[in-house]
Symmetry: C2
Subunit: 231 residues, 2 copies
């Protein structure tokens, strides 16, 4: 059993753990969470790993492939909470809440995946999450086709919210002041009040936190799905 093709791959080299496809992807996901998508370059990641840029190409085909690996590791890191048909409203809310939290732990992951045209959700763990959610909708009485659609819509709601709303609060652009974001109307919706009767009247309202807005979106979803259930 000492022929060359069964010999173990060395685990260290020059005092540093040997790279693998997975360790490189994991490092990319870490880097993304710490510095954001713009900073994640082949060169900066190589420097972070104490290696030359060329070395990464022994484990990933190119930058797109690197991001694909990072996305797979990202997806494998979250499990759906238990989903009980008897209390589907609360459990669906918990599913959405926890999935949102997972997305926010890795800001820019979805932005990056979509700007690189990478289709996510191929990891077995995420497939099981999807299957469990379809199962929940099917068990409460939705036809399978609607259960599938409702599952896709749920995931899209969460991903879209993180992408389009949370990203603004979690990483505000340089020119806006963070506390101005929570005022109503928000900075990007301010115009001449005479043309905008309803929008300008929102200035009298209590400002919404992102959490409140998210709860509202999920409430709409829950009510919308409930309305489709057989009576």
């Amino acid at each position: 059993m000492s022929s060359s093709h069964t010999r173990r791959r060395p685990t260290h080299r020059k005092g540093r753990a040997t790279l693998t496809r997975e360790s490189v992807g994991r490092a990319a996901l870490d880097f993304l969470g710490r510095y954001g998508p713009a900073e994640l370059t082949m060169r900066s990641l190589a420097t972070e790993l104490g290696v030359s840029p060329r070395a990464l190409y022994n484990y990933v085909e190119d930058r797109r492939d690197l991001i694909t690996v990072a996305a797979e590791i990202f997806e494998s890191g979250w499990h759906s909470p238990p989903l009980d048909p008897a209390r589907w409203r609360e459990d669906l809310r918990a599913f959405c809440r926890e999935l949102r939290a997972h997305y926010r732990r890795h800001p820019g992951m979805t932005t990056l995946a979509y700007s690189e045209n990478i289709t996510m959700a191929r990891h077995p763990v995420m497939l099981r999450n999807v299957d469990a959610l379809i199962g929940l909708f099917a068990q409460i009485g939705l036809p399978l086709q609607d259960a599938y659609r409702a599952c896709m819509e749920t995931i899209r709601l969460v991903a879209g919210f993180v992408e389009l709303q949370d990203s603004l609060h979690d990483r505000p652009p340089a020119h806006v002041t963070p506390d101005d974001l929570d005022r109503l109307p928000p900075p990007w919706l301010r115009g001449s009040p005479e043309d905008l009767p309803y929008l300008s009247r929102t200035a009298t309202l209590e400002p919404d936190s992102p959490d409140t807005l998210f709860d509202f979106a999920v409430d709409i979803l829950v009510a919308g799905i409930a309305a489709r259930l057989p009576a």
Copy 2:
């Protein structure tokens, strides 16, 4: 009236129309629609305009600013259809349908804006669209706060759908075959059937077109909003 500071800016130079901030932004938006976000670089746009890259910097501060101008022109190019509270369900559906079509006419506009952390929707025309939609929700009986939230959720639904669903069909990644996309389950949700009872059973269903999926999402929204109306 011939003093130097009232003299008209020349409209042509070397047989070519003079650049303006707006014409540069419009060219960027055109270019985006034709070649996609990855091809839109300062250098390629300059070549397209028959000018050196440096010339663009006389009208926009940098690439981010260029994209901001393109986003403003994009927003100014769509008007909400009339929204009548008496038939709010149909009119809300029409709003969503037409807004989706506008987004799809300029693929990558939202992806690009979000990957560059640009907050859109500052153009007066888009502000009026937002105001009209809040107005619709307020007029059918939602409290102003809920009307505002419902408006944000509607726009997020459309933008998220185009971003996360239509972009896949309109510009499929190189490695997937377009007609495989419409099968159920979709390519990125295929796994071992024994672990995925519900997901694998979707293979027996009629495949969903993006339009059908979109209609379903809007139906959920309409029903969810209807459930919040005072009885």
